[in-house]
Amino acid sequence: MSDTTPIIRMINVSKLFGDFVALDDVSLSVAAGERVVICGPSGSGKSTLIRCINRLEPHDRGRIIVDGLELDEDMANLRSVRQEVGMVFQQFNLFPHLTVLENLTLGPIRVRRMARPAAEALARQYLERVHIPEQADKYPGQLSGGQQQRVAIARALCMEPRIMLFDEPTSALDPEMIKEVLDVMVELAGTGMTMLCVTHEMGFARKVADRMVFMEAGRIVETAPPEAFFTAPASPRARLFLDQVLEH
């Protein structure tokens, strides 16, 4: 049953900012363990789409069901969903007044109600996973961008989510740090995590994506397996976009 029931279902979802339609009747289902890469021009609604999945943006129309829970006004539901869904932001958004270890244990202690020693052990285990166990006692400001983003990934993983959302996780990084973050993401993909990534890193997309989603003006224009998408995109808009992105 769990194989056939999608872990994320978005059904005719629309999102408006005032009069502006940021998401226009979008439907998308993601199976457990599936890795979806979302791309499209700037302003096409990619961030809005994945931010609706943990309700950082409440949607205006349609339904979103995550792991069997419908996203609505119900705060208890929302908290359960947010424990199931981890998120990594373009700007890292680490808590600058807390050490790396404290950044990682805040959620487990306050939301999952874990004891501090257990939470710290968990945090160290995930720091190991993102290859920076030695940075546990530093503050975010003392780390490089790539290290900060890996801490942010570990912070999300410490909630032991079933789904991970990435919103352009490498866009704010210097080129030499992009690879260390992508490597961690590829390793994560290897563990069977359900992943939705907004990214323009097409090499990463080719390597891990089960499915490509191309967005334009608040709509999903094309959905295709990566080989098909990269070799022969169906829509002219996607072709144009790929030409621009793959140029550099």
């Binding site: 947010r82 998120m87 958004n93 007044h97 959620g107 306050r110 939301v111 999300a156």
Partner: protein, 277 residues
């Protein structure tokens, strides 16, 4: 690396003239200069009036010699009472100010309206009138004695500005912090407690210290309803001894000493926070 180091030295250099003016030594010297000018004018005036100075009678009001050594005199006791009164009122102002700030930032329409109403009323009323209202009107109704009425009055009055400091501090935190906290499932309350307020405190400490200075200064007003504190102590001594010039100078100097210390603390904190970030 080289670039970063350059930027630091450039910042240092451009800050230097301002730093000099805001340095502790310069501000203390300026303060002392102004005080000296005022004192000199006053002393000349007093001499012209033929005032009979009796400074030798003042120390007893600061420290009294008794059988078991020295004991705080009336003025020092009054100063301590002023500090306790201001401290209690400031705690109340912090508490009310935080609530008002959180209400204003909340999604509750009623909450925001209540906060605005509170601010409009408090801001547009003279402190003295507010004190009379608390002492002569709500005092008898709720059975508040003059001390409690004073603490509540001062706390309410300063809560308005304190709430603005809280609001500015909370608003200074980037929205990404809220989103990151929400994404790991923290509630709004937990987000305030563990993420937003600890960061906002850094921005709020200097203006809060300034507001504490204001509190000490405005606490003198409760002498009009004869609450025992520094200004009241001064008035009482003068009515017994007629040493009005000496006592008022001493009272002023005591207020000055305390507020000056707090102001120095504020500049010190500002400096430390500026260099840290």
């Amino acid at each position: 690396m080289v670039e970063a180091a350059d930027r630091v030295t450039i910042r240092r250099r451009s800050l230097r003239p301002r730093r000099l003016l805001s340095s502790r030594l310069v501000s203390v010297l300026l303060y002392l200069l102004v005080v000296w000018l005022i004192l000199r004018t006053a002393l000349n005036g007093a001499a012209a009036m033929g005032y009979n100075w009796q400074w030798y009678r003042i120390p007893q009001f600061l420290l009294e010699r008794t059988e078991d050594g020295f004991q705080a005199g009336e003025l020092l006791t009054g100063l301590l009472a002023s500090l306790i009164l201001s401290g209690l009122a400031f705690l109340l102002a912090l508490f009310l100010g935080l609530i008002v700030a959180l209400l204003r930032l909340s999604d509750l329409v009623v909450g925001r309206a209540v906060a605005r109403l509170f601010l409009e009323i408090v801001r547009n009323m003279p402190l003295l009138v507010l004190l009379y209202v608390f002492y002569y009107v709500t005092g008898p109704i709720f059975g508040l004695n003059r001390y409690v009425a004073s603490v509540i009055c001062l706390g309410v009055y300063h809560a308005a500005l304190v709430s603005e400091i809280f609001r500015a501090g909370i608003n200074s935190i980037a929205t990404g912090q809220w989103e990151a906290a929400a994404a790991i499932g923290l509630s709004r309350r937990q987000t305030y407690r563990f993420v937003i307020l600890p960061q906002a405190v850094r921005f709020m400490l200097p203006p809060m210290t300034g507001e504490a200075v204001n509190m000490i200064k405005s606490s003198a007003i409760v002498s009009v309803i004869a609450v025992a504190e520094l200004t009241t102590a001064g008035r009482n001594i003068i009515s017994d001894t007629y040493l009005s010039f000496e006592i008022w100078f001493t009272v002023a100097a005591l207020y000055l000493a305390v507020t000056l210390c707090l102001s120095l603390l504020a500049t010190h904190l500002e400096h430390r926070l500026a260099t840290k970030s």
